[in-house]
Amino acid sequence: MVNSPPPAPILRVPFCQPDYGREERAAFEEAIAGGRLEGGGAQTRACETLMEHSTGAERVLITPSCTAALEMMALALELGPGDEVIVPAFTFVSTANAFALRGAVPVFADIDPLTMNLDVEAARAAITPKTRAIMLVHYAGVGCEMEAFVDLCARHNLVLLEDAAQAVGAHWNGKALGSFGAMGAFSFHHTKNITCGEGGALLVNDPALVKPAEFIRDKGTDRADFLRGQISKYEWRVLGSSYLLSELAAAVLLGQFRREESLNKARMRIWQAYDQRFGLINSLRTPHIPGAAHHNAHIYHIRFSNQKLRDDCAAFMRAHGVMAAPHYVPLHTTPAGRKYGRTSGELPHTIDAAQTLLRLPLYSAMSDDELALVIDTMEAFLHQNGLATS
């Protein structure tokens, strides 16, 4: 039985909480002292350098959000009406919205029930003559079956794209996620491992797309070449927008990157503590990490046998001051999804994940007490419901 929750329980463990420290403050102050806060400055270049180095991407462009980076992909590929892009149905709005904005049709395909990543066979089945690209989402920072998708795209002459919003610092067979496709996108939103509140990055891996991507970020102009002294005046070259991040935010991001190692270590410690307690419980499904995947401890999720249990658990946790959260509403069931997208076949695994998945609080600054509270509360719920046997 579930205790009835008190009217307004105190939140003792939030779902996520950014960890900003001295490095961020120092970089922030330095940016202000530098006096130039428009995008593309020293702080931005510093972040891009670090990411180019760690991912091996040809060029990294910092953007105001992952959403913006995804929109830049659609612009760079000049997608439009009549084009289709295959996306998993279990993903964030932006993954599909970016293409719908250009008039292209996002095609929703089902996910792999173990990883919640796009299922290779489902993707294969969704391919039509109109298909231009496959957009992968590395859910929870766990890589998709990259070899299979690279092969699939090569066979059908499709562009491979990666929504690596959750996958900063994660790898597949030693290669950084986001660096496999023609382009990849990272997110530095409030909820992510590395964050500056709002922020993102476009990883350009195809050298032919570097210039177009630079143009698109700077209002469709070649202003970046102009600033580098390569041309004497700049002009409108392609369709673009203003996809530059303020130097203030970039400064905070740089501070976060400087602490990336310790931030990730702290997250991994918590992820592993959860996995030790819940990973072997028969009645629960917990993250499946394929052998080739080196994940980044972005999310620890637990899947119950049905939606009621999941919702009860979330309510129980909340009543004890712990914030645990379900995830996406399947895109093919949303009003805009139905209007702008197309659904490929039945999507049972997407529906199931949406109904049964619960994410536990996870952030680098989580204290031992907070961690213990989450685990104890969860265990209490499992005991009450007779689920605690492994």
């Binding site: 270049r45 350098t49 670090l50 310790s262």
Partner: protein
């Protein structure tokens, strides 16, 4: 021995205080492998380890440093600097006290405190320059040793003894070393040394003759060693000549005048920081000083009043200081400097006033000696900083060492008759600014963007000669240059690297490329482009054709490659991009260019 409880407690306290001072050096050791500045420090290491290729240099410090056998390794260098800094300043503290104070005033405990405070002060200097004090420390070490020799000389009665002679030898040896490192400072130090000697020593013609003889001999020893182990005089002279030309062309000679006016401005600011507190502390201290109040009726009350006033002055100063910096531990450096200099000034004023007030002739002489010595030490430190280096931060680093010394001497003097209480109080007051400096510098190391604790990534420097921990962005910079350096070919055949950013001399040291006859073509000076032309003009066609170029096209001070183009090498036509990297310190992308091979053209 009958130790009463009070003595025991005091000994315990001073032992602990000494350990607290020693904690400063220990934490330098902790940070020894963290951080690397790519500008100044690059100049230092390039000068040391590409010395033979260099023909234009305005200070000849490698002559001194290369006499000490050591490997080309940054960590070893830092350790060596650190040990010598601590050793020389600890020796200076002890010998200065011995020269000024009567022997009976220097108990074992006090000598221990002095040695610890001295080592702490040496470490403090290191802190001002964390992560790497580079050549500034060589000047300081030499200066401290000159003073050590001077103080030792004043205390040795028998001029025929070998201790007198070796002290004189040391003065000559280190004096000439200092002249090679910082010539004008060396001149001033010679003057100050002479005044100290005349002020403190028993004088006779024989003593003076012995002194001069062995000082000269010491200098000769230095000269001969340099000739044998390093290089013949004509080469040195050529380099000095080239260095003078360099200053001339760059227009850095005016910096002396600029430095002097800056110094004047800062001296005024120092005095204005807390003038009344300073006066109060000095006056109070003088009345509290032993042997001063005795001649007045109600001496006991006067002395107590002095203690009270002095304490109010000191506390007032601390309050002003902390109010201005708005933090107890994160203190702006210049505020810290002013504070330390103020402490030193109190030492001077206090002893001078005490000297004026006292009736006893011996005591008066003692106080005036103290005042004289403290003043000279302050002057000595300033002389090291005006010429060659002109910023307050450098002054702070050096001044603090001796200001602290002066204050400690004062504290010791005050201890006379009143036990350890006063010395302990003074020493405790000294610990505070030392701590503040430590914290400030660890968080804001010289020319680094991030604190030392954020320097976490193991990075191999100069083909593996050193391994340091750097911040991630700096590591990327060094790693990219390492990879590029491998393309340069075998180390002994590497070409010259011309740095058009004019701010990254560490690149040539790291890549083991040859310097362009000077360790650093400085940008951002009036004559920078002219100096670049001067350097290019000295290269043979073959050297220029093989040279690699480090360009920073978007950097605001980047230098015009025209002199290279005039010799027929166009950057955009005749070179290929080996790598690009985001450079720390100048915070912009650099491009590393190598000449296209002939076949490819």
């Amino acid at each position: 021995m009958d130790l009463d409880r009070r003595t025991l407690a005091l000994m315990l306290l001073s032992g602990l205080l000494g350990l607290a001072f020693l904690w400063l050096p220990l934490s330098v050791l902790y940070y020894l492998n963290r951080g690397l500045d790519v500008s100044d420090t690059g100049h230092y290491y390039a000068s040391l380890y590409h010395f033979a290729d260099i023909r234009m240099m305005s200070t000849q410090f490698p002559l001194v440093w290369k006499l000490i056998p050591h490997p080309d390794n940054i960590l070893v260098n830092r350790l060596l600097v650190f040990v010598l800094l601590m050793g020389s300043s600890a020796a200076l503290f002890i010998l200065a006290a011995k020269a000024v104070l009567p022997a009976k005033m220097l108990s074992k405990v006090k000598v221990w405190l002095l040695a610890c405070a001295g080592a702490g002060a040496g470490a403090l200097f290191y802190y001002y320059w964390l992560p790497d004090p580079s050549y500034n420390s060589i000047g300081v070490i030499l200066m401290a040793l000159v003073l050590v020799a001077t103080f030792a000389l004043t205390g040795i009665e028998d001029q025929h003894s070998w201790s007198f002679r070796s002290a004189a030898l040391l003065a000559g040896f280190t004096g000439l070393g200092l002249a090679a490192t910082r010539p004008i400072t060396a001149l001033i130090m010679a003057l100050i040394g002479a005044v100290l000697f005349f002020m403190l020593a028993r004088l006779s013609w024989q003593r003076l003759a012995q002194l001069i003889l062995f000082v000269v001999l010491g200098a000769v020893v230095f000269f001969v060693l340099v000739q044998i182990f390093i290089e013949p005089l004509p080469v040195t002279l050529e380099r000095i000549h080239g260095g003078l030309q360099k200053r001339e062309i760059l227009g850095t000679n005016q910096l002396v005048a600029k430095g002097l006016s800056l110094l004047g401005k800062e001296a005024t600011t120092v005095l204005h920081t807390a003038p009344w507190a300073l006066l109060l502390a000095s006056l109070g201290g003088a009345f509290a000083a032993p042997g001063v109040a005795d001649r007045f009726a109600k001496a006991q009350w006067l002395r107590l009043g002095g203690v009270g006033l002095g304490a109010i002055g000191l506390i007032w100063m601390q309050i002003i200081f902390w109010q201005q910096s708005q933090s107890l531990v994160q203190v702006p450096l210049e505020k810290l400097t002013y504070y330390l200099v103020n402490l030193g000034l109190i030492a001077v004023f206090c002893s001078a006033i005490a000297g004026m007030l006292t009736a006893n002739k011996d005591t008066r002489i003692l106080y005036w000696r103290l005042a004289g010595v403290s003043t000279l030490l302050l002057l000595a430190t300033l002389s090291l900083t005006i010429f060659g280096t002109g910023y307050w931060i450098r002054k702070a680093g050096i001044a603090s060492v001796f200001v602290v010394l002066a204050s400690v001497l004062m504290a010791l003097q005050m201890a006379r008759g009143t036990g350890y209480i006063w010395s302990l109080a003074m020493m405790s007051a000294l610990i505070l600014p030392l701590w503040a400096t430590r914290t400030t510098m660890v968080n804001h190391p010289y020319r680094l963007e991030t604190s030392l604790s954020a320097q976490t990534q193991k990075t191999s420097i100069r083909g593996g000669r050193s391994t340091l921990r750097l911040d991630p962005l700096t590591k990327v910079f060094f790693d990219r240059l390492s990879a590029a350096a491998d393309e340069m070919g075998p180390v002994d055949q590497r070409p010259i690297l011309i740095d058009l950013s004019g701010r990254l001399p560490m690149a040539q040291y790291h890549m083991q490329a040859r310097p362009a006859f000077t360790p650093w073509i400085l940008s951002a000076y009036k004559g920078s482009n002219a100096f670049l032309a001067h350097v290019i003009a000295q290269m043979s066609d073959e050297q220029l054709a093989r040279a690699w170029i480090l360009d920073a096209p978007a950097y605001k001070y980047h230098m015009d490659p025209a002199p290279i183009a005039e010799r027929g090498h166009q950057l955009d036509r005749d070179y290929r991009t080996v790598t690009t990297a985001f450079a720390p310190y100048i915070k912009t992308d650099i491009v590393l260019l190598a000449p296209k091979s002939k076949g490819a053209e």
